[in-house]
């Protein structure tokens, strides 16, 4: 958990005694190393001292939190999902229909020639469905973590839940929602593309988490601040709308003039266009931009995770 020191069982020496850290110094104890339920026995130290003064312990706790989070996060994810569908007759069908209807609308608009976007190397319906689905995933990756602390208020104030559990449960939910979008994109590709590139689509599927990685760090980083001031979430949502129009989601953007810096510094454009071109044409539209932005997002994610981990015990009493 978030205590200054959390000593795992693996620090136990072979002679049956354990080394435990107390107030920064190592001592040896003869206490049994196992809890009554057979789990490893830990020493938890909760103090007023800032966690950031013991960075090694924080990183260790983050690592342990992440490793141990999967099952609890999965249960939380399933709990939320079942709860959401508890009063729905068609359940997940709606999650599939939502993107499918969007795809059909653009297909119809293109067929009756309401929209004439010009040459873009693929049917417009495919272009826009991929753009919309990927941007929706990006938006969800930003906005879903923003509310996670507030949403988990009841848990955080009464049960010991690691920050990593909350993060992972959000990730599971975004991946789950994305599966329906990937299925719709697959259907659209199969029916509307002149040539379906199996390898390209497989590469797209493998690299799909990159679009989540583009949004999640911002969401995780801002979540603690949004817990204190909900204005942070409102501003974020407002900003995401203009970014949509500065990203080749519904139409291509010219690679000249003012659009060059806009596209270069757009945190999601290179990833979105690369994923779309991989799935539909089996080509990398902007591999360099993809790699650079992915690295930036991963760095940002580490910073966001660190801040999120540190923040939870401070925020648990304020939500």
């Amino acid at each position: 958990m978030w205590g200054v020191t959390q000593v795992a069982a693996w620090t136990r020496p072979a002679n049956g005694r354990r080394t435990v850290r107390e107030k920064g110094r190592n001592t040896v104890t003869d206490a049994p190393a196992q809890s009554r339920n057979g789990m490893a026995k830990h020493l938890y130290v909760y103090s007023a001292e800032a966690q950031t003064r013991h960075l090694t312990d924080v990183f260790r706790a983050m690592f342990h939190g992440f490793v141990n989070a999967r099952y609890i996060a999965y249960r939380l994810f399933v709990k939320d999902l079942r709860s959401e569908y508890a009063h729905s007759a068609f359940g997940m069908v709606w999650d599939f229909l939502d993107p499918l209807v969007l795809a059909l609308v653009f297909y119809a608009l293109m067929n009756i020639r309401v929209i004439n976007p010009g040459e873009m190397g693929m049917p417009y319906a495919v272009y826009v469905v991929f753009g919309a689905m990927l941007y929706q995933t990006f938006m969800e990756s930003v906005t879903m973590p923003l509310e996670i602390v507030r949403k988990s208020r009841n848990l955080l104030t009464h049960l010991k839940v690691s920050p990593e559990v909350l993060m992972t449960s959000v990730f599971f939910r975004i991946v789950f929602n994305s599966l329906f979008r990937i299925m719709v994109m697959l259907l659209v590709s199969l029916f509307l593309l002149p040539t379906f590139h199996v390898v390209g689509f497989l590469k797209f599927t493998v690299l799909f988490p990159a679009i989540i990685a583009a949004g999640l760090p911002v969401g995780i980083l801002l979540a603690p601040f949004n817990t204190i001031y909900s204005d942070v979430g409102r501003v974020t949502r407002i900003i995401l709308n203009p970014i949509r129009y500065a990203t080749p989601v519904m139409y291509t953007l010219p690679h000249e003039g003012i659009w060059v810096p806009i596209l270069t510094y757009n945190p999601v454009a290179a990833i979105l266009t690369s994923l779309r071109s991989l799935a539909t044409l089996n080509t990398w539209e902007d591999p360099r931009g993809f790699a650079v932005w992915l690295l930036i997002h991963l760095g940002l994610f580490c910073a966001g995770w660190f801040i999120f981990h540190i923040s939870i015990p401070v925020l648990a009493e304020k939500v």
């Binding site: 107390e22 104890t29 909760y46 103090s47 950031t52 939380l76 009841n154 848990l155 049960l159």
Partner: protein, 426 residues
């Protein structure tokens, strides 16, 4: 033996109006990120919920946290469990701690009891396989076999408490923290829970219990920690601490009653008006206090020959009352109705028995009632005095508010009988 819980000079402050001071949250967060940690400096509207509390516990110890509502018990419990961070001091806990702080925590109302067992166990660190092994035991203990596949929203609070408690105690913790949540369960389940806690105690589980029931505290816990306004007032043997706490409550009650009487007197003097029919007194039955049929009504309590409104359990109480009849009556009788402050009527002494006042038809009535052993348990009480002519009221209202203090012994329920207890040898 090494302590399993050590709390050293632990303090925690809260804001009375957190919504008005959102900046405190941001300031605290930035402070934590900057490596500066907690601070004991109180900002506007802040107060200490827990203030400089220290104690330690050894494996198998049982400690009760007692104190009035809002005294800081739950905050301390949450800090022990690592849910919130202290602003000063250190807590060290060795071993697996399970806490049952809130009934609904971890439950999803739309899911079945069975699914919630898996969820709750997962939140306490149990895998699906580990939970499956103890599932039957959990369900069996909760006594909810019939309803385990029904959604939890259809459960009563008591049923939720059963399920929550059952999960927590079957996860075999080293340390168990229980907040005042078992009070919602029925008596049979409460009994079952305390039997289970006794069993856990015997097996070396360290238990911290927050309870307002001094019976539970004395019966289960070796030690008690009394917190008042966040400060540790007394830590020691449970029975002694509980007794001191109850005495403190008595004194507070006495002080409050005196304050209320003073306010009433001040209000009456300020308005210089005859006492009006009090709606508050209607919880003790009908009120008739027009003073048109009787006047100069006086009622006084005497203990050891001195007038008082503060009694001690088993005091000899003498009640003297007098009033003047403003009109001739034919069938006079007077009752003394003793009621608890919350309206529960306890007993009545009436002149109907033996027709004590039937011969009085006019003038002044003076009586004295002696109660050799007044055995009401500590608390606040009122005396209601109906004066009848036949079945119609000449007067009926509260004539006295009084407080009974404890005499140093533990008491339960309403009265403390006088008895001789003999343990017969074989």
């Amino acid at each position: 033996m090494k302590p399993i819980i050590i709390a050293e000079n632990v303090s925690k402050k809260y804001s009375r109006n957190a919504n008005a001071h959102l900046s405190y949250g941001l300031f605290d967060l930035v402070r934590e990120l900057a490596g500066r940690g907690g601070s004991l400096e109180l900002r506007k509207d802040e107060f200490f919920a827990v203030n400089d509390v220290s104690f330690h516990m050894y494996p198998g110890d049982t400690l009760a946290l007692i104190g009035r509502n809002g005294s800081g018990k739950t905050t301390l419990l949450k800090m022990l469990n690592g849910l919130i961070k202290p602003d000063a001091g250190t807590i060290m806990v060795e071993g697996l701690m399970q806490a049952l702080i809130n009934l609904g925590a971890g439950f999803n109302m739309n899911l079945s009891g069975r699914e919630n067992v898996f969820n709750l166990a997962a939140l306490y660190g149990f895998s699906r396989v580990q939970t499956s092994v103890i599932l039957d035991e959990i369900i069996d203990f909760s006594g909810l076999e019939e309803f385990i596949d029904s959604p939890v929203y259809s459960y009563s609070k008591g049923m939720q408490a059963r399920l929550g408690f059952s999960v927590v105690v079957h996860l075999r913790p080293d340390i168990l923290l229980i907040d005042e949540i078992l009070s919602v369960g029925d008596f049979a389940f409460q009994n079952k829970c305390f039997t289970k806690m006794h069993e856990l105690k015997k097996n070396g589980v360290t238990i911290v219990l927050v309870s307002h029931s001094h019976t539970h505290v004395v019966q289960l816990c070796d030690n008690a920690l009394w917190i008042n306004r966040g400060r540790l007032t007394k830590l020691g043997v449970a029975k002694e601490v509980v007794q001191d706490y109850l005495n403190f409550l008595d004194q507070e009650e006495v002080a409050q009653a005196a304050k209320a009487r003073q306010l009433k007197r001040d209000a009456a003097q300020a308005t210089d008006a005859p006492p009006a029919k009090s709606a508050a007194n209607e919880i003790y039955g009908p009120v008739y206090n027009e003073m048109d049929k009787v006047e100069d009504l006086r009622v006084e309590f005497f203990v050891h020959g001195r007038p008082t409104d503060h009694l001690q359990v088993h005091d000899e109480l003498t009640i003297r009352y007098s009033f003047r009849l403003r009109q001739p009556v034919t069938d006079l009788n007077v009752s003394l109705v003793f009621a608890r402050k919350d309206g529960l009527r306890l007993t009545t002494i009436s002149t109907l028995n033996d027709d004590l006042l039937k011969h009085i038809h006019e003038g002044v009535v003076r009586c004295e009632v002696r109660i050799p052993d007044f055995h009401f348990n500590p608390g606040s009480y009122v005396l209601v005095m109906p004066i009848h002519e036949g079945k119609s009221y000449l007067y009926r209202d509260v004539v006295k508010e009084f407080v009974v203090r404890g005499d140093g012994r533990l008491t339960w329920q309403l009265t403390d009988l006088t008895y001789n207890y003999t343990v017969l040898e074989e």
